[in-house]
């Protein structure tokens, strides 16, 4: 199991190196030197340009450039931003990454859960009334012109109904009036840490619980941990960061609309995929066995059919994730969510090449990590890989 994870990690790192190499050659292939773009920019003096060139590794032979470029990347030296000179690209990314992570994680989670559940039900009631309508709905969400859809969502929920705020990630008045010693990123970081801790605890409990020989004890352990984790979460925030709770809730409230909107990107695809996968699974012999055993329909559907239908869905999760990341760029732009996607876009439109490449590399890292997580998840879901054999 560890070997598998290790192998995948190494593979992903290799892929990243190849990716960086490709980026390097992309920069090389660009007409002229990237620093030429700033000939007319009064902000950038020739010395600064030279410095950029050096930091981006654009001096010396091609091989020297390449080596320096790679070294810089892996030491976190992504250069300085042109548009926010002399801020380090790394610092800008560090500021915006948590916001994107929050959006991305919640939206992925939501899209996957809802997409999977509805795909499951859709397959189960195949041939019944309403199936066409639901399929068309799924196709609609899969192919809808997303920016337009996001605008419509804002218009409906933020303008027309006024349920959710638009175009901010916090309520300014609330943050303004309060005496506080922390900034929004501190709250974001803690929220992410909490989610991560909860996820790790729950997953660990699951793994330990499944290893127990007694099923009942295992299940009790898993559920106990889940409940305890939730309690611990509340207690921890109350005890350690009580002053942040209202602010965290404020951010969470602002997260709702972009998250839901973004989740629609993944939702349709995953629903259709789950449906197809589930239909295939339902033809399997073990479904017949399960039914022959006299198991209730719901158990057959959820525990047997859906559980196995999950496997192919998980493998194609990666493609969905790439989609979702692309959707994230649009979401951040439309919702003015100051995260990586917005950074990438504004950097690209201002021709801030170091920041563009930096943001893009981080988005790619995000995709790679998501890929790795999916791999591990798949391994965990499929005992044939997990237990070897």
């Amino acid at each position: 199991m560890l070997k598998f994870i290790g192998k995948r990690t190494v593979q992903n790192i290799l892929v990243f190196i190849v990716f960086l190499t490709a980026t390097f050659f992309l920069l090389q292939a660009q007409p002229g030197d990237i620093t030429d773009q700033f000939l007319s920019n009064p902000k950038i003096t020739p010395e600064v340009r030279q410095q950029f060139a050096e930091r981006l590794g654009l001096t010396g032979t091609l091989w020297e450039q390449y080596v320096r470029y790679m070294k810089n990347f892996f030491t976190g030296n992504l250069g300085v931003s042109f548009s926010e000179y002399p801020k380090e690209v790394m610092d800008i990314i560090a500021e915006r990454l948590p916001r994107t992570l929050a959006l991305f994680l919640f939206a992925t989670f939501l899209a996957f859960i809802v997409g999977f559940k509805s795909g499951k039900l859709l397959a189960w009631r195949r041939g019944k009334r309403g199936e066409h309508v639901i399929t068309l709905t799924g196709v609609f969400f899969q192919t809808v012109f997303y920016p337009w859809f996001a605008v419509v969502m804002i218009w409906i929920f933020a303008f027309f109904l006024g349920w959710f705020p638009a175009g901010k990630f916090l309520t300014v008045d609330k943050w303004l009036t309060a005496e506080r010693t922390f900034d929004a990123n501190a709250v974001f970081d803690r929220m992410l840490l909490t989610v991560l801790a909860v996820a790790v605890l729950i997953i660990a409990a699951e793994i330990i619980g499944r290893r127990m020989n007694s099923r009942v004890a295992g299940r009790r352990f898993i559920w106990g941990t889940r409940v305890l984790t939730l309690i611990a979460l509340v207690v921890w925030w109350e005890a350690v960061w009580p002053e942040m709770i209202p602010f965290a809730l404020d951010i969470a409230y602002h997260l709702v609309l972009p998250t839901v909107t973004l989740s629609f990107v993944g939702f349709g695809g995953w629903m259709l995929l789950t449906r197809a996968s589930m239909l295939e699974t339902l033809r399997e012999d073990y479904i017949l066995t399960a039914r022959a055993k006299g198991l209730p329909d719901k158990v057959v559907r959820d525990r047997h059919a859906a559980r196995n239908a999950l496997l192919p869905v998980t493998t194609s999760l990666v493609i969905g994730l790439a989609f979702l990341i692309g959707g994230g760029v649009v979401t951040e732009t439309v919702f003015s969510w100051p995260g990586m996607g917005q950074t990438l876009l504004s950097a690209a439109s201002q021709q801030d090449i170091p920041l563009t490449i930096g943001a893009f590399a981080f988005i790619a890292v995000l995709a790679l990590i998501a890929h790795l997580v999916v791999d591990i998840m798949y391994m965990y879901l499929d005992p044939r890989i997990r237990v070897g054999g």
Partner: protein
């Protein structure tokens, strides 16, 4: 087995609801503007009417404005340096004093720190020129320290020693000694002549500044150069500068420092920001000019008076006669909030709901929102001219663009009034380089080429010009009243006076995505040129590529034909941009700003005179001459400027709203705005 899962689902659902409920609970609007004790009367002005004076008591409200991008820095060094984004300026622009400032809305050059009008520089025995200027006593930083001459010396030294870039060099106009060519390094002759400028700034005493120039300074170097240079608080920046000196890149280290906690001498004190969300200033009630009454008279004189500080000064006249505008500065607001919005739609919604009072945006309101504002009873809409222009430039290094009549013929065909109609007020036709709204400097007699002519008349005039210049066609174009045949028009085989065929030309213009106005103009210009048989083709090109091409140096300067871009003009109180854009030594092929490659000895001479001018009236004459000459020669065809539309809540009371570039240019008047009870 299904039981626990259900429980889990419910728990999750409850948790989510709790979150939302809590957030909603906290999100319900609480009364944010507290009423105040200070009584106030409204002060508004319309043409000619006199405003009443309000007491200088703070009302204690929060003035909330929307901005559309995060600040990229909170460090004033960086703002004047590489981070000259307007968003930084809105927040950081009101904290640092200078010797002089501009009094709006009339754009009058008046003393700030200086005790009186600018002194005249005097020539010294060694050929240098010096000027001394006294500064006021009791002008305090918000930390209680007095602003002294040493602060300017400190600022000057940092700019010089660190080689600060951005707008610092043009503010201080540092003297650059001659660069001798070092033949060892390259084959290219790198020698450069010395550039005149400031050679030294010293403090004669705490309250006297002495500036030394290498040659006689013009207005742009003294009154509008050093005169506008900010005084940076040495007590705050000194240690940071010392630390930066020891780093590899002192300038970058200085720029990277945080400006939070920096004392202010202006009406606002920077009070921090929440990245991605908002920034904040608090009012500085102890500011020197807090509570000062400003009076503008019809004869052009200007009075600033403050009983508390014990001054009552009149400039440019004797301060009698009709008062056109009078108002008393605050700050009335207790603090100023700059809230970041992603787009104007969201900000307009916030404006309607009272979440913000005003939105700061350099280009003004988007036209689609105009009606929305007009329809809203809570909002007011104002429109002002902008300090800039969009233009069509020709590459005069190539034929036929080097032929004056050719350029004028194209210029004549361009029906700017039609474009104004087409774009429904999104543009204002412009004919002169200095915006007409800048009345003091604009030349009312600058030629308005073919203005008001009908299509047929334009065509005939333009054809006349071309024929006079010796252009011929295989098939001569005919005026097509119906305009039915689009490009390439009826004329074919156009030849220049030497008989060479006129080549296909490209009109580089930003695409519809970047700027629909310029894109639309380029498409129409293609049509109009086509009517004359001129094979020009509009090519939507990204902004940076156009800039790249047209500023390319050396032979590459010939790689483009026509392009459409715009200039935002700097200091409206001294428009000396003619030199930068049209002097022959500014040729972009050699790294300057003169993209057309325009070269005219007369213009060069005037340009030099302008830079050397020491009094405003002389300068104005020169600007008028330059403007007229250049417009007639048409290296640029000035196309249009854009009006700045702005919306604010009716609860706000501005002392004036008619001002070049709109209220955003004055950062929303944060220290003089008042709010109705």
């Amino acid at each position: 087995m299904t039981q626990p899962r259900k429980l889990w689902t419910w728990l999750a659902v409850i948790a989510v609801f709790a979150l939302i409920a809590a957030a909603c609970g906290q999100g319900t609007p609480t009364e944010t503007t507290t009423s105040t004790t200070a009584a106030q009367s409204s002060t508004t002005t319309t043409e000619g009417s006199t405003a009443t004076t309000a007491p200088p008591a703070a009302q204690g409200f929060t003035y909330k404005m929307g901005i559309f991008n995060d600040l990229t820095t909170d460090n004033y060094w960086a703002y004047i340096g590489p981070e000259s984004e307007v968003w930084n300026g809105y927040v950081l622009g009101s904290q640092h004093p200078a010797l002089f400032t501009l009094a709006y809305p009339n754009i009058i050059h008046v003393p700030d720190l200086a005790t009186g009008a600018a002194n005249t520089p005097e020539e010294q025995a060694d050929g240098t020129w010096t000027v001394t200027q006294e500064i006021r006593k009791g002008y305090m930083w918000s930390d209680g320290t007095e602003v002294t001459a040493n602060d300017l010396v400190f600022t000057y030294n940092v700019v010089k020693d660190f080689g600060l870039g951005g707008n610092w060099p043009s503010t201080f106009n540092l003297y650059v000694p001659e660069t001798p060519d070092d033949p060892a390094t390259t084959d290219v002759d790198e020698s450069a002549p010395a550039r005149d400028g400031v050679t030294n700034i010293e403090a004669v005493d705490d309250y006297t500044v002495k500036v030394t120039f290498s040659a006689q300074p013009g207005i742009s170097m003294w009154q509008n150069g050093i005169g506008f240079a900010p005084f940076m608080p040495e007590q705050f920046w000194g240690p940071i500068v010392d630390e930066a000196k020891n780093s590899d890149d002192p300038a970058a280290a200085l720029y990277a420092a945080s400006g939070e906690g920096e004392p202010s001498a202006g009406g606002l004190i920077y009070a921090g920001r929440e990245p991605g969300a908002f920034a904040k200033n608090v009012a500085n009630q102890d500011a020197y000019y807090a509570g000062t009454t400003y009076t503008f008279y019809a004869d052009g004189s200007f009075r600033q008076a403050n009983a508390d500080k014990g001054f009552d000064e009149v400039y440019y006249g004797d301060g009698t006669g009709d008062v056109t505008l009078e108002y008393t500065d605050g700050p009335y607001a207790k603090d100023v909030l700059y809230s970041i919005y992603g787009d104007q739609n969201a900000a307009l919604l916030a404006l309607k709901s009272g979440e913000i009072d005003f939105m700061l945006t350099p280009l003004g309101l988007q036209s689609g929102l105009k009606q929305e504002v007009l329809d809203s009873p809570d909002l007011s809409l104002i429109a002002n001219g902008s300090n800039g222009f969009r233009y069509l430039a020709f590459n005069m290094r190539k034929s036929p663009m080097n032929i004056r009549e050719f350029r004028r013929a194209v210029g004549c065909m361009i029906d700017k009034e039609f474009l104004q109609q087409l774009l429904q007020g999104a543009i204002i036709p412009a004919y002169s380089l200095v915006p007409a709204a800048n009345t003091f400097w604009a030349n009312p007699n600058t030629e308005q080429l073919c203005k008001g002519l009908s299509g047929q008349e334009r065509f005939d005039t333009a054809m006349g010009m071309l024929k006079d210049a010796g252009f011929t066609w295989d098939v001569e174009p005919q005026y097509d009243a119906d305009f039915a045949s689009l490009v390439p028009g009826t004329g074919t085989g156009m030849k220049d006076p030497d008989g060479n065929p006129v080549p296909e030309m490209e009109i580089l213009a930003p695409g519809a995505g970047y700027d629909p106005l310029r894109s639309t103009a380029s498409i129409w210009i293609e049509q109009w040129a086509g009517q004359l048989g001129i094979p020009a083709k509009a090519v939507p090109t990204s902004f940076s590529v156009i800039v790249d091409k047209v500023f390319a140096e050396g032979e590459a300067a010939k790689d483009w034909d026509w392009y459409i871009l715009g200039w935002g003009l700097g200091d409206p109180s001294f428009p000396d941009f003619h030199e930068a854009f049209f002097a022959s030594w500014q040729d972009s092929a050699e790294g300057g700003f003169n993209t057309p490659g325009y070269s005219d000895p007369q213009v060069d001479e005037w340009a030099q005179d302008l830079l050397a001018a020491t009094d405003v009236n002389t300068a104005r004459d020169i600007v008028h001459k330059l403007d007229a000459k250049i417009v007639e020669d048409a290296p640029y065809v000035v196309l249009f400027q854009t009006p700045v539309l702005e919306a604010y809540r009716n609860t706000l009371i501005f002392p004036f709203t008619d001002t070049l570039d709109g209220l955003q240019n004055l950062s929303g008047l944060p220290t003089s705005v008042q709010m109705q009870q």
